[in-house]
């Protein structure tokens, strides 16, 4: 089984600890992981802001970088949603405009191989107990793309519930968007902040030590607000909790 890590640009540049944690979890489960260095970004920021043509080189780059792997795994639901929902659209539009036959082919061939981390663990490897230990109270925020576009369902919860020492507490209004939304956070800063405030108020009301999510872009927004307000709670990616063990505990 040839498995490629799709680290994503956000994790590569800002949250390498999440990508490292993903590697650790997968290797602990006996998976041989490769990191194709030609990968950069899936193109979601450009595409969602209305720059479809500027996305095309990145679609092609991403698709080519992962050619030949059985599975491509990423700790980001939103990047998987980008590939699954939008790569076929981008390919089809390019073809309709009389170019990009190669782009459409490459984009389509990537789609069935890409998995979000929890999907890969639960559906492909068939595990929920990954041997993790994290003795803290945790509340889980299901990011919109994972929740609605990928339909991750209870996969992240099942993984968290199997972590030794972890107490999972319900997040009120869990399914509501945190207000990040890529460039939305900048273009509609006031509304984005209002949504974020409600999210962290709900998160803090749980009394949990950690707000866990599976998308660092959302966590950057939520965590940035928690820190600005000197909240006792911190935002943490699911992969890092799953990587934490008794021998090598997380911080």
């Amino acid at each position: 089984m040839r498995v490629a890590l799709f680290a994503t640009c956000v994790n590569d540049a800002l949250y390498p600890s999440t990508a490292i944690a993903t590697v650790k979890v997968l290797e602990r489960l006996g998976v041989e992981v490769d990191f194709p260095a030609a990968q950069t970004c899936c193109g979601q920021p450009q595409y969602n802001t209305g720059y479809r043509r500027a996305t095309e080189p990145l679609v092609l780059r991403t698709a080519r970088a992962f050619e030949g792997y059985d599975h491509v795994v990423t700790p980001s639901g939103s990047c998987v949603a980008m590939v699954r929902d939008n790569y076929p659209r981008i390919g089809a539009k390019a073809v309709a405009e009389g170019r990009g036959r190669e782009l459409a082919g490459a984009a389509a061939s990537l789609v069935p191989h890409v998995y979000e981390l929890t999907e890969f663990l639960v559906d492909v490897l068939g595990v929920t107990d990954v041997g993790a230990c994290f003795p803290h109270t945790v509340t889980y925020h299901p990011s919109c793309h994972g929740l609605r576009m990928l339909g991750l369902g209870d996969r992240p919860r099942r993984l968290l519930e199997a972590v030794r020492g972890l107490e999972l507490v319900e997040l009120p209004g869990a399914e509501e968007c945190c207000g990040f939304g890529g460039t939305f956070a900048v273009k509609n800063a006031d509304v984005s902040e209002a949504m974020g405030e409600d999210k962290i108020r709900n998160a803090m009301s749980t009394g949990a030590d950690v707000l866990c999510g599976a998308d660092n872009s959302c966590l950057m927004h939520i965590g940035g607000m928690l820190r600005r307000q000197d909240a006792p709670q911190r935002a943490l990616h699911l992969a890092e909790i799953l990587a934490s063990t008794e021998e090598e505990p997380l911080r």
Binding site: C9, N11, D12, A13, L14, Y15, P16, S17, A19, I20, V23, F35, A37, Q39, T40, C41, G43, Q46, Y47, N48, T49, G50, Y51, R52, A54, T55, P57, L58, R61, R89, C144, H145, R148, E175, E176, C177, G179, G181, G182, T183, F184, A185, V186, K187, N188, A189, D190, V191, S192, E193, A194, M195, G196, M220, H221, G223, G224, M225, R227, R228
Partner: protein
């Protein structure tokens, strides 16, 4: 569309005040959460909801594909039933037709049942200019009209008002328009409803002309359908001598069997009811019963242009249930007025820029008034992929350039270049990491300043992931 909203600022600025108005945010939050929870329960009762939703989508798509044929069918059937059909290309033409029809009756007052099409065309203002007074009779529309306000929700136009505010509006304004509010009116719902009932009853009994919209038009018989909760609509439809219905051309459905699907989808999605209390249907005119004259004004006003857009046309499937508004986190904070249109919320964000074009500041900003969270798509009873259309419209706005987009385009191109050159990207990452101690907490520049206004940026790592990988694995 209506002149009422001309000169609206872009959405982010319009939303700013709403976000800071804690009363408004409280009203909106309470109302949207109550109705969204009720809707979820009403929908969960049906085990064939997904099939119904798919059927609704298909019927609408089929009808839109053959719209010309079904509209001709409507015209033939309405005419055969004793009605008259008028075609209006835009708002101005629709308003002119209606004003002329009212004037021909010699009347200077009309009663109206909630009609989004006439809100869209700004009919009340157009009639006012011709010396004709239009009275809104839907309770929430009445509150909006008395308060010299604008609707802020499709189903609950006065959603932004609480009971105390409504009592104050009734007390101070009802007398100006007709029967005043009773002495000592309190804010209990029963008393408020009774005050409105008495006020409106006087108008129903006096009016000779009624103006309505319609939720559906059944092509095979030329029958128009209005679904409502209060019965005020039925009064409007049956008591006057002349009835004028102004309806968007996308409201047609082929047959009565199709109506069956929508009469299940609409009430559960909008009011969270199994069945709405009043469903009124009218077909042309009947001797000795109901209005003596019936006019149907078929309104285009940007709809055929919308139909021409392969991705955007799905917005015309909308049955105005407002489920998307009630689940939208952006609508909940920004309120309906910020959308600058009679169609607020997610559906407004895709419908208004298509009906009106993206020429104005507000219309160019609407496709960006969403975090693309997808909650609207999930609840839409006719499966309009609102996020898909939003992104599609963003592309149009970005292509047309203008305010801010030139700079943005350059930035996006630079980002793409960098991301298409891994070595350059790696160098940039290393530079950022090596200077990380120097980065200030709050940053200048358009994007960064907004970001660091309320959030800390993440600490940059000592090294990017690709460097860690090279050291440890490669």
């Amino acid at each position: 569309m209506s002149g009422t909203y001309l000169g609206m600022p872009a959405f982010p600025r319009a939303a700013r005040d709403a976000v800071r108005d804690t009363t408004l945010r409280g009203n909106l939050r309470h109302a949207t959460h109550t109705i969204r929870d009720k809707r979820a329960r009403a929908v969960a009762e049906l085990d064939d909801w997904a099939a119904l939703r798919e059927a609704g989508k298909r019927i609408k798509d089929h009808t839109l594909r053959h719209l010309d044929r079904y509209l001709v069918r409507v015209e033939e059937a309405v005419t055969a039933a004793g009605g008259t059909v008028h075609w209006a290309a835009d708002a101005e033409e629709a308003n002119r037709i209606v004003a002329d029809l009212v004037k021909a009756t010699g009347e200077s007052e009309v009663v109206k049942v909630k009609s989004m099409a006439t809100q869209e065309t700004g009919l009340n203002e157009a009639l006012e200019a011709e010396g004709i007074r239009a009275y809104e009779t839907d309770l929430a529309e009445l509150i909006v009209q008395l308060g010299k306000d604008r609707p802020s929700h499709i189903l609950v136009p006065a959603i932004h008002r609480n009971r105390g505010e409504i009592r104050d509006i009734f007390r101070s304004e009802m007398g100006e328009w007709g029967r005043p509010a009773p002495e000592g009116l309190t804010d209990t719902p029963a008393e408020l409803a009774e005050a409105a009932r008495l006020h409106l009853r006087e108008k129903f009994l006096r009016a000779k002309v009624g103006i309505s919209g319609a939720n559906f038009m059944v092509a095979e018989t030329g029958t128009l359908v209005v679904v409502e909760s209060e019965g005020n609509g039925r009064m409007c439809l049956t008591l006057p001598e002349t009835l004028i219905s102004v309806v968007g051309i996308e409201k047609v459905i082929p047959t009565w069997r199709d109506l069956e699907v929508f009469l299940q989808l609409l009430p559960r999605s909008s009011t969270a009811e199994r069945m709405n209390p009043y469903t009124s249907m009218w077909t042309g005119t009947t001797d000795g019963d109901g209005p003596r004259a019936f006019h149907l004004v078929l309104l285009d006003n940007g709809r055929t242009d919308t139909l021409a857009d392969e991705v955007g046309r799905q917005a015309l499937r909308c049955i105005r249930c407002s489920a998307c508004l009630n689940v939208c986190p952006v609508y909940e904070r920004a309120g309906g007025h910020a959308y600058g249109s009679v169609y607020p919320g997610p559906i407004g964000a895709i419908l208004s820029p298509q009906l009106r074009g993206t020429g104005s500041e507000i219309d160019a900003s609407l496709p960006y008034a969403s975090s693309l969270c997808g909650a609207c798509y999930e609840v839409c009873p006719v499966a309009i992929d609102i996020p898909e259309v939003l992104v599609h419209l963003r592309e149009k706005v970005a292509d047309q350039g203008g305010a801010g987009h030139r700079l943005e385009r350059a930035a996006m191109r630079t980002a793409t270049w960098l991301l298409d050159h891994p070595a350059a990207l790696n160098a940039a990452e290393r530079l950022a990491s090596s200077t990380r101690k120097l980065h200030p907490k709050r940053l200048p520049g358009p994007g960064a300043r907004q970001w660091t206004n309320s959030r800390d940026l993440p600490d940059l790592p000592a090294e990017p992931f690709r460097d860690w990988w090279k050291k440890n694995h490669a």
